[in-house]
């Protein structure tokens, strides 16, 4: 079994140096629920692990007038138990409550879920719906990338050699904003999405018109999909089932899934429309202030 080196830097700069020293076979360690499993199964050729959880910025959760900033390694458990997030960004809990079981949530982070870059990742469509900005550090300093541009292929992303994800920035939600994430799985919990959908809307003050919207799908393409045309079609439209059905059809058209052990192409196309429409309905209810995170938990089988 291949030996590895373990380092736990205390600052972003030290982590950048450690990753640079380790070269292409150095990897940052967050919650480890993907990385350590890959290491144990011999699916990873890494020889240096840079544990980033001793860097305060990487596990910090700050929420206030500037929006929400989640350290890339902040655990799902710490998000689930954060009342300010539950109140201000209830849709986020839709994802953090269903990534793995309780003990996986004790370690797994949204940053790690993003960096693992699975097409079926349960947080990424949700992050896209929330217009998240990824803060990246590396040998050439810091840069930001819109989350919908982060993943480039299954298991691949824009991070270059020596770069790592530092934080996820959620802009302050506009007034009358609501979002939701749903996935379809054939069991009640502990499964990988056949299809996932994340949507958000901004409504007019009277709650009757959709001013803007974002729609995203998971597990229907090599990367999580940002379906901009579905959001564009909703902008300026009245809240109605017809409007939502039109966006759902556009999401279905955008989906380009494969058939595999989890589902077929026709099933995934169908689910893309159904889940888009359902998440939009929930996002609208939340924007109107009529649906709580706990009610949605029940919709997801998690109440």
């Amino acid at each position: 079994m291949q030996a590895i080196d373990y380092v736990a830097p205390n600052s972003v700069d030290e982590a950048v140096s450690a990753l640079a020293a380790g070269g292409a076979s150095a990897r940052p360690l967050g919650g480890g629920t993907d990385l350590i499993a890959q290491l144990q199964e011999g699916r990873s050729d890494l020889d240096t692990i840079v544990d980033v959880k001793r860097i305060p910025e990487l596990t910090a959760i700050s929420i206030g007038g500037d929006g929400l900033t989640l350290g890339a390694a902040a655990s799902c458990h710490s998000i689930n138990n954060n009342q300010a997030i539950r109140d201000g960004y209830p849709a986020l809990i839709d994802s953090t409550h269903l990534i793995g079981g309780t003990q996986i949530q004790g370690r797994a982070s949204l940053g790690g879920n993003l960096c693992n870059s699975s097409p079926a990742a349960d947080s990424i469509p949700n992050l896209i719906a929330h217009s998240v900005i990824c803060h990246i550090a590396g040998p050439n300093g810091r840069r930001t990338v819109a989350v919908e541009d982060f993943c480039t292929a299954p298991g691949r992303n824009v991070l270059g050699n020596g770069e790592f994800l530092v934080a996820l920035e959620f802009p302050v939600p506009p007034a009358n904003f609501g979002a939701a994430y749903l996935r379809f799985i054939p069991r009640n919990e502990m499964d990988i999405a056949v299809v996932g959908a994340g949507s958000s809307v901004v409504l007019s003050d009277d709650g009757q018109t959709i001013e803007s919207a974002r729609v995203s799908l998971g597990a229907v393409a090599p990367t999580p999909l940002f379906v901009q045309e579905a959001g564009d079609a909703l902008a300026g439209q009245p809240v109605s089932e017809e409007t939502l059905a039109r966006a759902a059809e556009l999401a279905k058209d955008a989906a380009r899934p494969i058939s595999d052990m989890r589902g077929t192409i026709p099933q995934r196309k169908h689910l893309s429309a159904v889940l888009t429409q359902r998440t939009l309905r929930i996002a609208i209810d939340r924007a109107r202030g009529t649906k709580t995170v706990d009610e949605l938990g029940r919709l997801n089988g998690h109440g």
């Binding site: 080196d5 480890g32 350590i36 144990q40 544990d51 655990s75 079981g101 003990q103 004790g106």
Partner: protein, 157 residues
């Protein structure tokens, strides 16, 4: 072979120093280096929950933690659940409800259930089943386990 690392930590309330290889998991260190063999390896990849421990009070799979990560932190294993030789109420109720057959999953279930009751002393049956969804048992069909956990919760109330 990589250079060994000395890890200083607290395990079941006792300050402990042990040597490990950097890639050794916490589960491997507990069982192979420290002789704490109550935590079981079922799958070794985070699916079964048999190795669950509390890390700073948070439920985690010890097979998905690297030993050096626990430097300066607080670990509670199944061996730390009973206090002063007295069974924890969860252990007692698992016996009374016959919530085990082969017993491999039991340490993980008890640690998970303790974490549940620490966070939510009055769980519904749905809460308990959802919380324990990451613990697999091939003997009991889960029902007796859930009943034992709910019995403890009611006893506390």
């Amino acid at each position: 072979m990589a250079k060994k690392i000395a890890v200083e930590t607290t395990i079941n309330g006792e300050e402990t120093i042990f040597l490990c290889e950097p890639r050794q998991t916490l589960l491997e260190a507990l069982r192979d280096n420290l002789g704490l063999i109550g935590s079981k390896e079922g799958c070794g990849n985070g699916n079964c929950g048999a190795c669950n421990v509390l890390l700073d009070g948070v439920l985690v799979n010890s097979c998905l933690v690297l030993s050096p990560e626990i430097e300066g932190r607080d670990v509670v294993t199944i061996e730390g659940i009973a206090v002063d030789g007295e069974l924890h109420p969860l252990q007692q109720k698992f016996l009374e409800h016959a919530s085990l057959q082969c017993g491999i999953c039991t340490p993980g279930f008890i640690v998970s259930a303790k974490a549940l009751l620490d966070e939510n002393p009055d769980p519904s049956e749905h809460d308990a089943r959802l919380w324990l969804a990451g613990n697999l048992c091939r003997c009991t069909g889960y029902d007796k386990i859930v009943r034992a956990v709910l019995d403890v919760a009611e006893g506390d109330a």
